[in-house]
Amino acid sequence: MLDPYRALDLTDDKGFLCGKVLADLGADVIKIEPPGGDPSRNIGPFYHDIPHPEKSLYWFAYNANKRGITLNIESADGRELFQRLVKTADFVIESFTPGYLDSLGLGYSTLSQINPRLILTSITPFGQNGPYRDFKTSDLVSMSLGGYVFLTGEPDRPPVRVGFPQAYLHAGMAAASGSMIAHYHRQLTGEGQWVDVSIHEACALLPTDSYNFWEITRLLEHRHGAVRVRPETGARLRRVWRCKDGYVNFELYGGALARAFTIPLVAWMDEEGMAPDFLRAIDWAAFDYSTATREEVDRIADAVSRFFLTHTKVELWEGGVKRRCVVYPVASPSEVLENVQLNAREFWVKVEHPELHDTITYPGACIRSPEAPQRQWRRAPLIGEHNVEVFEELGLSREEIVMLKQAGAV
């Protein structure tokens, strides 16, 4: 869908995903790394655990479908080449500290003079202004300040982050969204603009109710691990349940949602002679946890938990699907790989890595457009892989490229 457009991607891991999704949709995304390669190539895990800049699975995952060049934008020649590239580009995406590009004479005011239609997208920890502008961050720090960590984990231990870094992925997608909205405006008006993305703000969207609860009720939400606690009654509503070989996610809903949760589950327990009389007698459509007593909830949970313990994750997932009952496995990657839905939809893609003499299975793209389906997948670029190709497109001779390479500019 985005075949006619070009993006220059100067980001490190704070912004990889922005260029990735544009590349998935067909844009010509040129990843620009410093000579020697982006330090973010050191992020693990690594292919076969070989710690090497050309073997980072993190790099592979979020830079596939991009081309790659090396360019030292701190050198005069590098800056000049970058400016020539900017003339050919629709988007520039960067994640340097605020003010860095300006200090090189490559800030928005300069780039927009070179190319008034340009969209410059800047992804920074806290945005381009404000008292935290120059603060440093990491995934843990951003997820903490954004309010999600406070709500995650067990009450008797410190709060925890999501087990795989998420902050920069949210920011990268927020950046892609802002860039594409600016693109829409540009296509109508010819005006480019500067898109300022704060990782902090992307994270602050995540804790659904924290802000609301404080503002409206002056109550603070707390973390409760795998259960939810009703503030009115203290009843503990379990979300994660142990089964024979792991855990499943299930909620004891009353009301309209009971049709897909509790009602079919109790019927299923009954089929197997495991639904006690009191459980079968409950009118789930009328059942309301905000008024149910703690004892009543515990009694129900006890019966349900005994049922789950007699089944495996696969039995509960498949049995739930058969009965239109929402019991989902707490899955690991190996189980997701076997998911019947994803396989039937041919979600997984095998990407060739000729240098590794191997193919690696990746999650496929999630934007599915029958009208403009995604073209072939291309593995992430090697360091400087497309230097000659891209610089020749710019009109440089092979001799000039060799010269610039030796001078440390590319």
Partner: protein, 406 residues
């Protein structure tokens, strides 16, 4: 004063979606200037309208601040889609719209007579985007579920928490905050495609598949290396200290993440404890890794005597990544969010004055922000019918009397 053009001025959206993922997508479009009609009915209102917190603790279909959060900058239309004239109005809205958005269980829109094939007849170049949980097609397409369960199916729950405890699972419906970004990108790309080719299209965005993008490297660690991830609390391979530390007060914590020797030395200077600074075992990353528990204890000995805000300020000043583990009150009072105007106060008819989050991207010329409070159910029935669809007074009253808006 000349009002600047908004980024999405002129874009028209028929928002049939509900709960979070779809409405949040449409809210962002509305905040950036699109005209959005959120379509619900009294018989089948958006589920989120029943979710607390409610203003003054009084329940009511228009009082949920949770619903409000995801529905700024929209017109509210209540429409009985099972009434033939209700369906007619829905189709007139589609004929007006550029974008139709929905996230019902697959098959629902088709049964209502509002599937893509139906919409195309009314508006040949409509861009329709569906955001089903598991996919619009496939053997489990119609299997029910919510974002809460989906985040565990993807694998987020299994890796979150402590190795010696059960999975913690993620608060809220985590995946509902991933899909909307992919939807926005897809919709803008589709509008661009339409302007170049004249063609509309149908886009399918399974929230399952969107969520998997956010753990792609873990999937590949399995497919390439055969390794399954484990729960690790706040541990990070290449950073010590890396965790949240108890500070002065109850449930007050500050996150600290030290990745380099420079950051480590800066941290030691701030704490000023010779037990840290002069200890050769802590001078290298491998040494710190080996002695992580001892280091954590020493650091907590210091943080416990300071407020979380002090810890953050002192460490950030020295160049060490640190941040308060923010609760709802902290977010409410966050000076950075405040300066940047992230929360925008608007006055809602029943909730009164309260704050709406802005999109987490600021466009320099066409910034965008919540422009209207979330709609009461059916608040804009008359406006939508008369001003947007050009209905006469008589026609509107006739529809009203026939229960089309119920």
């Amino acid at each position: 004063m000349q009002v600047a053009r908004q980024a999405l001025e002129g874009v028209k959206v028929a928002d049939f979606s509900w709960i979070i993922a779809g409405p949040l997508t449409a809210k962002f479009l509305g905040d950036l200037g699109a005209e959005v009609i959120h379509i619900e009915s009294y018989t089948n209102p958006d589920n989120l309208r029943s979710i607390s917190p409610m203003r003054d603790g009084v329940s009511g279909i228009n009082r949920s601040a949770t619903f409000a959060r995801y529905n700024s900058s929209k017109y509210g239309l209540s429409l009985n889609l099972k009434h033939p004239k209700g369906l007619q109005i829905a189709r007139r809205i589609v004929a007006w719209a550029d974008i139709a958005l929905e996230n019902f269980t697959p098959g629902v829109m088709e049964r209502l007579g509002l599937g893509y094939e139906d919409l195309k007849k009314v508006k040949p170049d409509i861009v329709m985007l569906s955001m089903p949980l598991l996919g619009h097609a496939g053997p489990l397409a119609t299997h029910p579920g919510l974002g809460v369960q989906l985040s565990d199916l993807i694998g987020f729950g299994n890796i979150t928490g402590w190795p010696d405890r059960e999975p913690s699972t993620l608060p809220g419906a985590y995946t509902d905050f991933i899909g909307p970004y992919y939807a926005l990108v897809a919709l803008m790309a589709a509008l661009d495609y339409r302007s170049r080719t004249g063609k509309g299209q149908y886009i399918e965005l399974a929230q399952f598949e969107a969520g998997l993008q956010f753990i792609a490297p873990l999937i590949m660690d399995w497919t390439a290396n055969g390794r399954e991830p484990i729960r690790r609390g706040n541990e990070c391979d290449h950073a010590v200290p890396h965790g949240v530390y108890a500070c002065q007060g109850e449930e007050r914590w500050c996150a600290i993440a030290v990745f380099s020797d420079e950051e480590w030395q800066a941290l030691c200077r701030v704490i000023g404890d010779p037990a840290l600074f002069d200890e050769p075992r802590f001078a290298t990353l491998l040494g710190r890794k080996e002695n992580a528990r001892e280091i954590d204890r020493l650091i907590e000995g210091w943080t416990a005597n300071h407020t979380a805000e002090e810890v953050m300020a002192k460490l950030q000043e020295a160049g060490v990544p640190a941040g308060v583990v923010a609760n709802g009150k902290d977010l409410f009072e966050d000076p950075q969010l405040e300066t940047r105007g992230f929360y925008k106060e608007l006055v809602h008819a029943e909730i009164g004055p309260h704050h709406y989050p802005s999109p987490p991207f600021k466009l320099s010329r066409t910034p965008g922000e919540p422009r209207m409070p979330s709609p009461c159910l059916g608040q804009h029935n008359e406006y939508v019918c008369k001003q947007i669809l050009g209905m006469s007074d008589e026609e509107f009253v006739e529809m009203l009397n026939e229960g089309v808006f119920e």
